[in-house]
């Protein structure tokens, strides 16, 4: 039979975000495939060179839409490393709180998002409703639901509003009590297992070859390769949490790890609220008004553990008011580009969307 060319995306219900996979199929089997990114290319790295350090805080959350906070965090970490700024203690804890809430919302979205490719839309309906509660919390903490622009150079923009701790605790308690429902609906569901168990494998060799990080890496290597543990930033060395790992990485394992991580996030959030000290939330370390902030010259890379893996910025400063160059390492870049080219072929068309989903691919961070 002759090869037929199919597009998965950009306009396709199975495609998360605006991206395209071109597939040559023979029957139902994908013979060749590659990603055609760039539908979301906005030239961020160039725009960042054209904006001041503070203005960049307003720009960068947009690089990854479902989980924008790691952007702000790595940008701030880089600027702080270059300018040798000591962030106030409380700001570290607030940053962690925001990052963990963002991770939780991203995990919920991805976990519910499995409803798309598997057809289990109920999971999406439930998860999005819970995600909305997090977004409402974000709205109260930061002033916006999605683009928070909250973590800034030297700390965070504002202190936590009064009484937010109780609301966060109430939410995580409620969510924790309902997580088993998700488990029953998705993980223990035989029809979903039929799609995910022993399907869409990610062996450890492939992880090392591509440079996959995050859950994909932990699910196949069996080691706690989590930047929060390996190179702790903020105050992750002061909280206790486990990093779920596995040595057999099929789609189901990766989903399960995501599910288990949600419990760990809740555990971290509880500890943060417990341990968070009072005090200043922002160190105004750069001279003058935000229009004239200058960051000393240097070249530094910082990365944090986003929900999808290692998310980092490489920042070059020449001491000016604007970064000289910022390069973004999207967490899902390796698996989305080379991964699709090399390891999607051989799967069935049915699995393409699921492949895209369980590899944790986020198209805006690839396109930038």
């Amino acid at each position: 039979m002759k090869e037929v060319k199919l597009f998965l995306g950009p306009q396709h219900p199975g495609m998360h975000g605006n991206s395209s996979i071109h597939m040559y199929v023979d029957g139902d089997i994908i013979k060749r495939s590659y990603l055609l990114p760039g539908m979301l290319h906005r030239g961020f790295e160039k725009s960042m060179e054209r904006r001041t350090w503070m203005n960049n805080i307003a720009l960068i959350p947009r690089i990854c839409v479902p989980e924008p906070d790691p952007n702000e965090m790595v940008f701030a970490l880089n600027a702080e490393a270059l300018a040798s700024v000591e962030v106030p203690e409380r700001a570290h804890w607030i940053r962690m709180l925001v990052l963990e809430l963002a991770r939780l919302s991203a995990h919920l979205m991805a976990f519910g998002g499995i409803g798309g490719p598997t057809g289990l839309y109920t999971a999406m309906y439930w998860a999005q409703a819970d995600r909305d509660s997090i977004l409402t919390l974000f709205e109260e903490i930061t002033g916006q639901r999605v683009y928070h622009m909250y973590i800034t150079i030297g700390g965070v923009r504002k202190d936590l509003p009064k009484g937010i701790e109780k609301k966060i605790l109430a939410f995580v308690d409620d969510l924790e009590s309902r997580l088993p429902d998700y488990e029953n609906l998705v993980l223990n569901n035989p029809s979903v297992q039929a799609r995910t168990k022993d399907q869409i494998m990610l062996p450890a060799e492939v992880v090392w070859e591509l440079g996959v990080t995050g859950i994909g890496m932990r699910s196949s290597t069996g080691k706690a390769y989590d930047l929060r543990k390996v190179t702790p930033y903020a105050r992750y060395d002061k909280v206790e949490f486990d990093v779920p790992t596995a040595t057999y990485s099929d789609a189901h394992t990766r989903l399960t790890l995501k599910y288990l991580e949600m419990y760990q996030i809740i555990r971290i959030i509880r500890q943060i609220l417990d341990l968070m000290p009072a005090g200043k939330v922002r160190e105004k370390a750069l001279d003058g008004s935000a229009l004239r902030w200058q960051v000393p010259a240097g070249q530094v890379y910082s990365a944090v553990e986003a929900s999808r893996g290692e998310y980092g910025y490489y920042t070059v400063s020449t001491g000016g008011t604007m970064p000289y160059r910022v390069a973004v390492r999207g967490a899902s870049f390796p698996q989305a580009t080379l991964g699709i080219e090399k390891y999607l072929p051989g799967h069935r068309i049915d699995d393409a969307a699921l492949w895209f989903d369980t590899m944790g691919i986020c198209s805006p961070e690839i396109d930038r």
Binding site: T118, G119, S191, A194, R195, D350
Partner: protein, 306 residues
């Protein structure tokens, strides 16, 4: 059949057609509301499906060649004809012509038209969808036929109204649901397959093949397709009802039984992911077929449930 009865029969058939449309379309809306509760939300108005269909009919259509246009008409015609032959409570438009095999035959005309039209649209996804739909049909038809043949064998008739009448003799206890529970389960699984409910939604699969056969439909054609969809649900659920739930003697019974079957199927669909096409076939040739054969053996050779 007497010639001068034909106009009246046709009128009855049209009445059944109209009823089928309004009943199933309303029920689809109501089911959407029920399913919405499962999603923790309220859902649309119960008459939303009517709005959708009429809206589609008011839009302009697109053509992709005569095969495409003719296929839709053929499908809708075939399905409408099938509905007209369907016994509804005590009414039958064409008495004597409610043999089970007539539905199977007429229904196939509709399906064929649909397949023709979809392939005629020229989109490879539609082609894949049609192939999947036909493959899936092969999957569910076999166990379903085995169960139905067992029933026909057991009851000695293939007329739907007669089968229903037989089951109505002794109330609930004479339903095939009670008499042949294993076969009913097998047939219900097949019904899910026919209705395209998950986990057997493979031929629609928006996330994989962008709604499959319907991929190139828009405007009026899609409206017709939706009407066709409502009719085919009516046929499939009615068949199941007549075969296993003793048909319906009165409107209340009809409404309750019909709703129970359709809502249950929809709720199961919402709790399930979708299988891949190879998994569908494997599944049908494993569990339902085993159940169906078991039931057939019980009926035909052991005489249980007759």
């Amino acid at each position: 059949m007497v010639i001068n009865q034909l106009p009246l029969q046709i009128l009855t058939g049209l009445a059944i057609l109209a009823f089928a449309f309004f009943w199933q379309t309303s029920l689809s809306g109501i089911t959407r509301k029920i399913v919405a509760r499962y999603h923790k939300r309220y859902g649309p108005k119960w008459y939303q499906e009517f709005r959708d269909i009429f809206k589609l009919m008011s839009k302009t259509g697109v053509t992709h060649g005569w095969v495409y246009d003719f296929g839709v008409m053929m499908a809708l015609g075939g399905i409408m004809a099938t509905v007209m032959f369907m016994p509804l409570m005590k009414f039958t438009a064409f008495p004597g012509f409610d043999n089970f095999f007539i539905y199977v035959y007429l229904f196939a005309v509709g399906m064929l038209g649909m397949a023709m039209s979809a392939v005629g649209s020229g989109n490879p996804l539609a082609g894949i969808g049609v192939m999947r739909a036909l493959t899936q049909m092969v999957g569910y038809e076999v166990p379903f036929m085995i169960v139905v043949l067992a029933i026909i064998n057991g009851h000695g008739t293939s007329s739907l109204s007669q089968l229903a009448a037989i089951q109505q003799q002794a109330g609930v206890l004479s339903w095939n649901l009670v008499k042949m529970p294993i076969g009913t389960v097998a047939a219900f699984i097949c019904l899910l397959g026919m209705l395209g409910k998950k986990p057997f939604e493979t031929f629609i699969a928006p996330a994989e093949i962008a709604s499959g056969p319907m991929v190139e439909y828009g405007g009026k054609q899609l409206g017709m397709l939706m009407i066709l969809h409502q009719f085919s649900i009516f046929i499939e659920v009615s068949l199941f009802m007549n075969l296993f739930l003793g048909g319906a003697a009165n409107p209340l019974g009809f409404a309750l039984k019909y709703m129970a079957v359709y809502v249950l199927a929809s709720l199961i669909s919402q709790a399930m992911g979708r299988f891949k096409i190879d998994q569908v076939i494997k599944f049908f040739y494993k569990i339902p077929i085993a159940l169906a054969i078991l039931q057939a053996v019980m009926v035909v050779y052991l005489g249980w449930g007759v």
